[in-house]
């Protein structure tokens, strides 16, 4: 077998050194009732590289890929062009096949990347400090709510109806067996400000509120000024948690930090990482300096070595499970290291100039398409202030429309009925995302297909 270097003579020589008669002797502790005599039944035997490639390619070929058709699907995962350099760098064995940098003297590559990543993320989100990444945006948001509870010693979180419903579902799962109180709202497709009313959120804040969680741009693409909400939170001693699912937006819109956020979490997939059917992705987490010791997740910090040279180490690990065990800030024991590297390489290639250009391009293209689709009879553009994603209200239920568009080889967005099942007021909503990858021909195809399906 190509991955196993030992030869049969090697094995015999090694057993002789060990003093064991055969390999079974090394498994003597396994109870007799659980010993298997041979390969497990019902599974195939070993296969050549060529055969594996053939079988898996057959499965891959059954999927309709984003790059093959006009593609406008978003809602938490976005198709952006990733420069070839990014994949080249992350496939270097020194990055790909390294472990968590617990021996910093021989892991400065990974550590310096994490230090650079943390700095890039903090600046992008407008915050003081970011961690070395989390699993994804949804788990990062849940960790933020727990952090707010530790900081404020209050247990009530108010969650905006504009937050990605799957993120809210994750929070509800992980607070099911705790005494946290999670206040959620059902969003509405109010023209001009779909989601929920910030004034209503503000009215709900009281002395027991640990945090308000709001997404910007929200799940409907709506961009809001969160400054009044931040002020209201701070006046009540609560934290403002801002969720970002499309980080490219921050090249065009005011950062959460500028609007007064205390914790910013997000999904970083848009920069450097492909769609990958939902994972692996990249959870972003940033906060203010004064709250850093309540932050979950790995952190990389600068220090010096015995010769006084600058170097980097994992730090503040007394917050973490391998030291604190049941008293840790989180049970998390991993980050999305390679995804963070991909993000950092792409962000370095873009720089501020490139990021602003990319964001402006996304916005302009989305405005162009939104204005075209809004002309289709019966179609209403619900989101008027948006970045690269907007919600249309169709004259009919959107879920079957999406399927009919797919039959016409157009992936035309996400129906609100899929992500908010059972909410009748939302079922005609269609969320459309437009990135730099969509061409004029894609716009034409989408417009024609939607016209046809709605006719």
């Amino acid at each position: 077998m190509r991955y196993l270097p030992l030869t049969q003579p090697d094995r015999e020589a090694m057993l002789a050194v060990i003093g064991a008669p055969d390999i079974d002797a090394l498994f003597a502790d396994v109870p007799a009732s659980a010993r298997l005599d041979g390969p497990i039944a019902g599974l195939p035997m070993h296969a050549s590289e060529m055969l594996v490639e053939r079988d898996l390619s057959a499965m891959a070929n059954r999927n309709l890929t984003a790059g093959a058709v006009p593609f406008f699907v978003g809602c938490g995962a976005y198709k952006h062009h990733v420069p070839a350099t990014v994949d080249h760098i992350i496939q270097r064995g020194e990055f790909l096949t390294a472990y968590t940098p617990y021996q910093p003297e021989i892991a400065q590559g990974t550590l310096q990347v994490l230090f650079e990543f943390q700095t890039q993320v903090a600046r992008l989100l407008g915050m003081d400090v970011a961690n070395a990444s989390m699993y994804d945006g949804s788990t990062a948001m849940t960790e933020a709510v727990f952090m707010a509870r530790r900081v404020t010693r209050r247990s009530k979180a108010i969650v905006s109806g504009g937050v990605h419903p799957h993120y809210v579902a994750v929070l509800n799962t992980l607070t099911r067996f705790t005494d946290d109180e999670i206040i959620t709202a059902t969003p509405e497709l109010t023209p001009g400000k779909p989601g929920d009313d910030l004034d209503q959120l503000i009215a709900g804040i009281d002395a027991t509120t640990s945090c308000v969680v709001v997404q910007n741009p929200n799940i409907f693409g709506h961009v809001a000024d969160l400054t009044p909400l931040a002020d209201a939170c701070h006046a009540a001693g609560a934290l403002l948690i801002v969720v970002i699912t499309e980080v490219v937006a921050l090249g065009a819109i005011k950062s959460p930090g500028e609007m007064g956020a205390d914790i910013v979490v997000g999904e970083g997939q848009s920069i450097g990482n492909g769609l990958n059917f939902g994972g692996p992705y990249l959870g972003l987490f940033a906060t203010r300096d004064k709250l850093v010791r309540q932050m979950p997740g790995r952190l990389c910090g600068e220090t010096v070595d015995a010769d006084g040279k600058r170097g980097f180490v994992l730090t503040l690990s007394t917050r973490e499970q391998h030291i604190r065990r049941e008293k840790a800030t989180s049970n998390i024991c991993t980050n999305s290291g390679l995804c963070a590297l991909a993000f950092s390489v792409h962000m370095t290639l873009l720089g501020e100039k490139g990021l602003r250009h990319l964001a402006a391009l996304n916005h302009a293209r989305a405005v162009q398409l939104a204005e075209r689709l809004a002309l289709i009879p019966g179609v209403e553009l619900v989101t008027t202030s948006f970045f690269n994603e907007f919600t249309l209200k169709l004259p009919v239920e959107a879920r079957p429309v999406i399927r009919k568009l797919a039959e016409r080889q157009v992936l035309g967005g996400v129906s609100l009925g899929r992500i908010f099942p059972g909410v009748a007021a939302l079922e005609n909503g269609l969320v459309v995302a437009v990135t730099e990858t969509a061409t004029d021909a894609d716009f034409d195809a989408f417009e024609d297909a939607l016209d046809e399906v709605l006719a």
């Binding site: 196993l4 020589a13 090394l26 498994f27 502790d29 659980a34 390969p39 195939p44 035997m45 070993h46 296969a47 594996v52 898996l56 390619s57 499965m59 070929n61 059954r62 999927n63 890929t65 984003a66 093959a68 350099t85 020194e94 990055f95 790909l96 096949t97 390294a98 472990y99 003297e105 590559g109 699993y135 579902a169 799962t173 067996f177 809001a224 090249g251 005011k254 492909g274 990958n276 059917f277 939902g278 692996p280 910090g301 010096v304 015995a306 730090t315 065990r325 008293k327 989180s330 049970n331 024991c333 999305s336 390679l338 962000m347 370095t348 100039k353 250009h357 162009q368 202030s385 099942p421």
Partner: protein, 522 residues
């Protein structure tokens, strides 16, 4: 000199080692060892390594919410960026460079076929919210991988969405909590052996349980009598790692599971060490209720410098109804992704754990690996992993303290301690750093906590005998020289890109992002 929280020395002074005439180079480089500044020191905000189309002129929809203040993100041209990251990469040790014998971490060869398969556009370029009719091949892949995991473990169900091992633990413990609540049973305590990974007690606490430790016996196994004595109507679950973190199989696992079940509790098995038994033992045959499988350990998906991982959880019949959403099932028209709560007897799911469906990129890699090995090859994986570890144990136990060697063979990792260095004043940390100068990544240090000065060596099955012989030779030589001339080893490493780094200073005054020197900021 100072100590970190587990008592090991982290800061030492020492003269720089150099053989260079004059002692310095202009660049600070040492031939192929190249120093590399931060992107913030070499890039500029107006430099860009990406060419983008012109932005069409439209009326902005952002009003006053446009970002006008500087973001201060430096860019580099493509050649500069490639060089920056390539130079940084060369300061890393990696499995591609040599043996990475980190106990409990299973650093095995990462086949490049896996990378190629994960990058097929049909897997890499599909969106999690595309219509299900357009992703039937992806759902099929998840279903096939799930079948492999269930058959390899002998368990009837598997939850695929957890993103890493600790996330899988959370999944399993939430299922246990949900199952107990469904029968109106408000148990409050989870028992965890003191040798457990730190994630186990952290996870149990996250699920609202009080954690109590179970002691180990003199043979490095769970003290079964102590465990049984503690079982009762308040114990929700026992979390056991098997093979355990001392690298030993728990021979009483069947008896333990039966006792826990008889007391009305559940058994969570930490599957971090599944590599030792894959294809030879099905954990389901031992009686467990839930176990996570680190695809990045046993099934060779790359660790990537700390992630991403993937931690599917196999579940018993009793826990299966409580598995998280979403999940894939076969329907008459093909494969279906069930994202919503169902009516009827299956409506007990404890909910959603992640935004989408799990680590698809890792699923593809793991399945490519499983298909390559097959049922026969995976059995050989466990056998060679265990053989390699026992070969190391047998070859070093005369010089290294091996606390449990007398109790018989180990599984996939060999546990030593630094007792043999006691008179030298040297510790496990010093030995690990000396191994760095020898060109190896050190073994796991100071874990498990039940052995003072622990050194946990896990070679995995992808090392040749020659590779093991070189590691053994180096470990013997270092140990002998440490006993002879201990003072030569108090400030190792000398030859790595950095000398010992001051972790204490890093934690005392954290610098967690780049700040320009004051003169620049003015």
């Amino acid at each position: 000199m100072s100590m970190n929280t587990v008592g090991r020395v982290t800061r030492l002074s020492g003269a720089p080692a150099t053989e260079l005439p004059g002692g310095i180079t202009f660049t600070g480089n040492r031939a192929l060892m190249l120093e590399e500044p931060l992107i913030f020191e070499r890039g500029a905000v107006d430099r860009c390594g990406v060419d983008l189309p012109e932005v069409p002129a439209v009326a902005s929809r952002l009003g006053t919410l446009g970002r006008t203040a500087p973001i201060d993100l430096p860019g580099l041209s493509e050649p500069e960026a490639v060089r920056h990251y390539t130079r940084l990469s060369r300061q890393n040790y990696a499995i591609d460079l040599g043996i990475f014998p980190l106990g409990s971490c299973t650093m095995k060869h990462n086949p490049r076929l896996n990378e190629k398969m994960a990058r097929l556009p049909g897997f890499a370029d599909i969106h999690p919210l595309q219509p299900q009719s357009s992703v039937q091949g992806a759902l099929q892949l998840i279903d096939v991988l799930a079948t492999w995991l269930m058959r390899l473990t002998g368990m009837p169900a598997v939850a695929m969405s957890p993103k890493a091992g600790a996330h899988g633990e959370l999944c399993g413990m939430l299922a246990i909590r949900a199952a107990l609540e469904a029968r109106g049973d408000a148990r409050k305590v989870v028992l965890v052996p003191e040798s457990a990974h730190g994630t186990n007690p952290a996870t149990a606490a996250f699920c609202g349980y009080a954690v109590e430790n179970i002691p180990a016996n003199a043979r490095g196994r769970v003290d079964v009598d102590a465990l049984k004595a503690r079982l009762g109507p308040d114990v929700a679950a026992v979390m056991i790692t098997n093979p355990n973190t001392c690298g030993l199989f728990e021979p009483d696992m069947v008896e333990i599971c039966a006792a826990v079940h008889a007391a009305g509790g559940f058994v969570y098995c930490d599957g971090a060490n599944f590599n030792a038994i894959v294809g030879r033992v099905r954990p389901g045959d031992l009686g467990i209720d839930a176990m996570h499988i680190n695809l990045h350990k046993t099934f060779s998906t790359p660790h990537g410098g700390g992630g991403p991982g993937s931690g599917p959880v196999v579940l018993s019949e009793a826990l299966a109804p409580f598995a998280p959403l979403p999940f894939v099932r076969k329907s008459k028209d093909g494969f279906e992704l069930v994202e919503e709560e169902l009516a009827g007897p299956n409506s007990q799911s404890f909910g959603r754990m992640v935004a989408f469906h799990g680590q698809m990129g890792m699923f593809t890699r793991a399945l490519a690996y499983m298909m390559s090995h097959g049922a026969d090859g995976l059995r050989q994986v466990a056998e060679d992993a265990v053989l390699n570890a026992n070969y190391i144990l047998a070859s070093l136990k005369d010089i290294y303290t091996a606390p449990f060697a007398a109790s018989g063979p180990c599984m996939h990792e060999a546990l030593f301690s630094d007792d043999f260095l006691h008179d030298t004043g040297l510790t496990t940390l010093d030995l690990a750093k000396a191994m760095i100068d020898e060109g190896f990544h050190p073994m796991t240090m100071y874990f498990p906590l039940v052995v003072h000065g622990a050194m946990l060596v896990e070679p995995t099955e992808t090392e040749s005998k020659a590779s093991l012989d070189q590691l053994i030779g180096a470990m013997r030589s270092v140990a002998e020289r440490m006993l002879e001339s201990p003072d030569d080893f108090r400030t190792s490493p000398h030859l790595a890109p950095r000398r010992r780094l001051d972790e204490t200073a890093a934690a005392r005054k954290p610098v967690l992002g780049y700040k320009p020197p004051l003169s620049d900021a003015a």
